[in-house]
Amino acid sequence: MTSLHSVVNLRDARKVAIFGGTHGNEMSGVTLVNMWINNGAEIQRSGLMIKPLITNPRAVEKCTRYVDTDLNRAFTPDNLSAPRNEDMPYEVRRAQEINQMFGPKGSPDAYDIIFDLHNTTSNMGSTLILESSKDDFNLQMVNFIKQAIAPTSCSVLLNEHPLLQYSTSRSIGKHPIGLEVGPQPQGVLRSNIFESMRAIVKHALDFIELFNGGMEFQPCMVDVYRVSEKMDYPRDKNGNITAMVHPNLQDGDWKPLNPGDPMFQTFDGSTINYEGGSTVYPTFINEAAYYEKQQAFVMTKRETLTANGIKAYKI
């Protein structure tokens, strides 16, 4: 049986944003965006308007994840439409400003593509994060990037889960892409992580330029990890964690976690095993910022998505 996937005509992409500092202590994006604001030569591509932006300047100044509330959860419809008032958390005000500049979310005027640059303390390597399994443009771009950086690997995380999905800064664009590179401690800049992120952005922009120039991209398959469930740490009645990620699981992002495998180690040395029904692929294992979000790791299932071919048409 063959499945026929056609080549779909899509509007060319003219307005691109690159967000850094959505979390003020994730240094690769902060540094790259500041660098590009000072000298944008590296990110220039013909026919493209590319705007780098530090999305959370106050958090960047304090080198903290956020000031009042997580900016990368703040782009909810309620927040974006709330009447502006002085008591509003800084990040909600900022979300509204960014929505004005690069949105409005859901409108034809919104930026075509928004990249949001992040780091993680987890051993995720280079990861591209998608919010839709049906965005042919994004899937083709991801496919292009993966081929361009091979043999270095790049995982693709798909978060389409209705309960676990969240309102990201990039979600105001028509085609949102998260770039997550780790492991890197918060507040620290590592050369290898920095260069990996820089290379991915370069390839992404090359793709957009080729697409706009009329290149046709054939239907393709993309292997993704689809978010299925999150797992919190065991905690006491005060909310303090009573166990840590088990040494066998620590740094094991993207590797299978089978029922019965060690998952947590209590402070007095006992092991808590994973008791789920089937093998999962954990990621965001021991991300420092997720202790407060009740997440030790997120479970994913592997899936292969098919993308239609794409070709640009100009208005």
Binding site: P185, G187, V188, F194, M244, P247, Q265, E287
Partner: protein, 281 residues
């Protein structure tokens, strides 16, 4: 050389959360307090969560780095409503575990830290003439093989010493890395527990009259600190630690070795005189 007689260490303080986001010490102290094991043979152990507000917020500090607040000058600063939280707290801790320089001070203050740098297990002492600290170091080095064990000498006088450990008659910080701030790794915590356990074991042996032979240990003494290259106007860093230097803590850095890599790809090399070993936080 004949063994030197020194007073027993009957009161020992174990401190965690001096930096609120260095979680191995926070977890270890919390666990120790939960188990309530304070009176053990030969040693009274006091556990302290040094900076509870910073721990609550999982931040290094609230207003001022607590671990720089223990100089004689800061400890005697008059306190007012506007005094930074950490200075007030430092004076509380000095009253609890000190006063620094007095007969009533804790025999040993051990302060638990993490670093993002690849330092392994590093004991930090304010001098290299404190035989108690040197012997504890030797004991850990002999009995821990999973991770390199070293000692860093800050080479400061008691009055100038600004860290919490300097409040005790003897002071040691245990610094373990690499671990990102804000999270706890099981392997790092396990090493820290082992380090603390061995330290307490040595103290019990010492207090019960064991004679420890003298000998030689290798220590590292702080010579200077090197900052990142920065933009003169914005003060933003303009280069990254060079990939060849990254994670090479305690390795020899020779004249001409790469130090920094600028964002435009140029390498800045070490131009100092004598070869040094570096720590990269």
């Amino acid at each position: 050389m004949d063994p030197v007689s020194l007073p027993a260490l009957s009161c020992v303080a174990l401190c965690g959360g001096t930096h609120g986001n260095e979680l191995s010490g926070v977890c270890l102290v919390r666990e120790q307090q939960r188990k309530k094991e304070e009176e053990t043979e030969h040693v009274t152990l006091v556990t302290v969560m040094s900076n509870p507000r910073a721990v609550q917020e999982c931040r290094r500090y609230i207003e001022k780095d607590l671990n720089r607040c223990f100089t004689a000058a800061i400890l005697s600063t008059p306190v007012s409503d506007r005094t930074p939280y950490e200075i007030v707290r430092a004076q509380e801790l000095n009253a609890l575990l000190g006063p620094k320089g007095s007969d009533g001070a804790m025999d040993l203050v051990c302060d638990l830290h993490n670093t993002t740098a690849n330092m392994g297990l590093c004991l930090i002492s304010n001098s290299d003439c404190d035989w108690i600290c040197m012997h504890i170091y030797k004991h850990l080095q002999t009995n821990i093989s999973s991770i390199p064990v070293r000692l860093l000498n800050l080479y400061t006088s008691p009055d100038e010493s600004s860290n919490l450990a300097s409040v005790g008659k003897h002071g040691l910080s245990i610094e373990i890395g690499p671990q990102p701030h804000g999270l706890v790794r099981a392997d790092v915590l396990s090493t820290m527990k082992k380090g603390v356990q061995l330290m307490l074991e040595w103290i019990r042996l010492f207090n019960s009259g064991t004679v420890f032979e003298g000998g030689e240990v290798e220590v590292h003494t702080v010579v200077k600190c090197i900052d990142f290259p920065r933009d003169p106007e914005t003060h933003d860093i303009t280069a990254v630690i060079h990939p060849q230097l990254q994670d090479q803590d305690f390795c020899l850095l020779r004249q001409g070795d790469p130090l920094f890599l600028s964002f435009s790809g140029e390498t800045e090399v070490y131009r100092g005189g004598a070869p040094l070993s570096s720590l990269c936080e």
